[in-house]
Point group: C2
Chain length 241, copies 2
DNA sequence: TAGTGTGAATGGATTCACAGCC
DNA sequence: GGCTGTGAATCCATTCACACTA
């Protein structure tokens, strides 16, 4: 998140109201800082992997696993009210449930995929989404040679042409879309998706999408990720680490 | 970058020295803030896509494309000396060259891949890496059923067993590795890679890797990315945007 | 005029430190 | 003793504003 082309540029000058609302039992997640939201996902992932290892966990234990301070963990969680036990820590199962609720993975999201190339096919076959409550319900491609065929890894799903986008989004109540098309086709695909009513985009095309503020965008550019590595490794080599 | 399990935790109290060194023509990239490094990649990507559109570009023009302020763009670039022209802007070709130099993509990096499942296969077939100077030179998998076979999309590369890791890393001078194995195998794979001398890991396994400080790690968890979307979209729906 | 480079000011995020609780 | 929740303090990143330059 917080890659360019993302919407979180609303100037909310309401920091003061936050605590009051939290005390009332719920906080409007709109004013949760981005870094906090990202860490929530990491907490959840870590906790889910640790469920067998005990019933409770302290902020220190959790933080150590993720290279974060205990204070950071507590502050993050405190955005959503107080549900830790002094002297004991947090009850893992309870915390998992709460985080799911907060992050929205306590419900099922219908997701569609645009672009059935190598990456698209791999993503369609990836089972990791389902565990988190994301159900891939439709697949699209601009290439007429690819449309019509059934998607072998997905029961009852066939590759559709983009002309059927709006219809399908409405019929299946799809909220999220994965964009796995080449750079040149990325913006156009995004425009079509947004026009069809999609509320969130996971973008794998190596471009900065331009989107209206009511659409959430999260971008993954694998070449950029490798580039960041090459930068950091380069540092160490010549900086003489 | 800056996902847990990453090394940038060195407490450098040397902010003062930065400018002096920059004036001398070069800055030790070790003390470049992470957000800056990430944006450098975005600048480069944007500029490469715009080379045809003109000879120079201003910080404002570039910033607008990426939803950043002009001041931000200038500050970021100023970390590496001054190469803009007052009244004119930056010469695109020159800036591209400089950014490549800085990010380390003006040279070729040899990369290996561990895990030849769906995602691994898609990554092996992805041509986007080569353009940036990353050459996939070896592929590994723990499953004996997969080893030995040639990788069809890569000339002269066959899937090797992990026992050959160290040998290959040394022989081919590999610096970076992509980890595309299941969560359970992630840490073990990372350990083996680091032991073999790999300097940077691009991790797709949905876990937080534990790594020594001299190894750079960049993580991509697609389920987490979707989760962030579901969080942001959830906000808008119930926050009544 | 149009733009860079950069100190100073602002705004956010992280960490500290401690009161309060089990 | 161990741990949470949180104001205060610190640290870092971003933006402002302007001297300076082509």
């Amino acid at each position: 998140m917080n890659s360019p082309g993302n919407p979180s540029r609303e100037n909310s000058r309401n920091g003061k109201q936050r605590r009051r609302r939290a005390a009332a039992g719920w906080t409007n997640p709109r004013d949760i800082p981005d870094p906090v939201a990202r860490r929530l996902s990491l907490y959840l992932r870590q906790l889910e992997a640790m469920r067998s290892e005990g019933k409770t966990i302290s902020s220190k234990q959790l933080g150590d696993k993720l290279n974060l301070t205990d204070a950071q963990v507590r502050k993050d969680l405190a955005y959503f009210g107080q549900f830790g036990n002094p002297g004991i820590g947090y009850v893992i199962d309870e915390l998992v449930q709460r985080l799911r609720r907060i992050l929205g993975t306590d419900r099922v999201w219908n997701v569609l995929l645009v672009g059935m190339g190598n990456l698209g096919a791999a993503l369609a076959a990836y089972r990791g989404f389902e565990k988190k409550g994301f159900r891939l319900v439709a697949v699209f491609d601009a290439d007429p040679n690819k449309t019509g065929r059934p998607v072998t890894v997905l029961d009852g799903v066939r590759v559709q042409p983009l002309s059927e986008l709006s219809d399908t989004v409405n019929r299946l109540d799809v909220q999220l879309a994965i964009v796995a098309v080449p750079a040149e086709a990325g913006q156009q695909a995004a425009d079509a998706l947004i026009h069809a009513g999609i509320k969130g985009l996971l973008n794998f095309a190596p471009i900065s999408l331009v989107t209206p503020p009511h659409v959430a965008v999260s971008s993954v550019d694998m070449a950029v990720q490798l580039e960041q590595l090459s930068f950091r490794v380069g540092c160490m080599l010549e900086g003489g680490g």
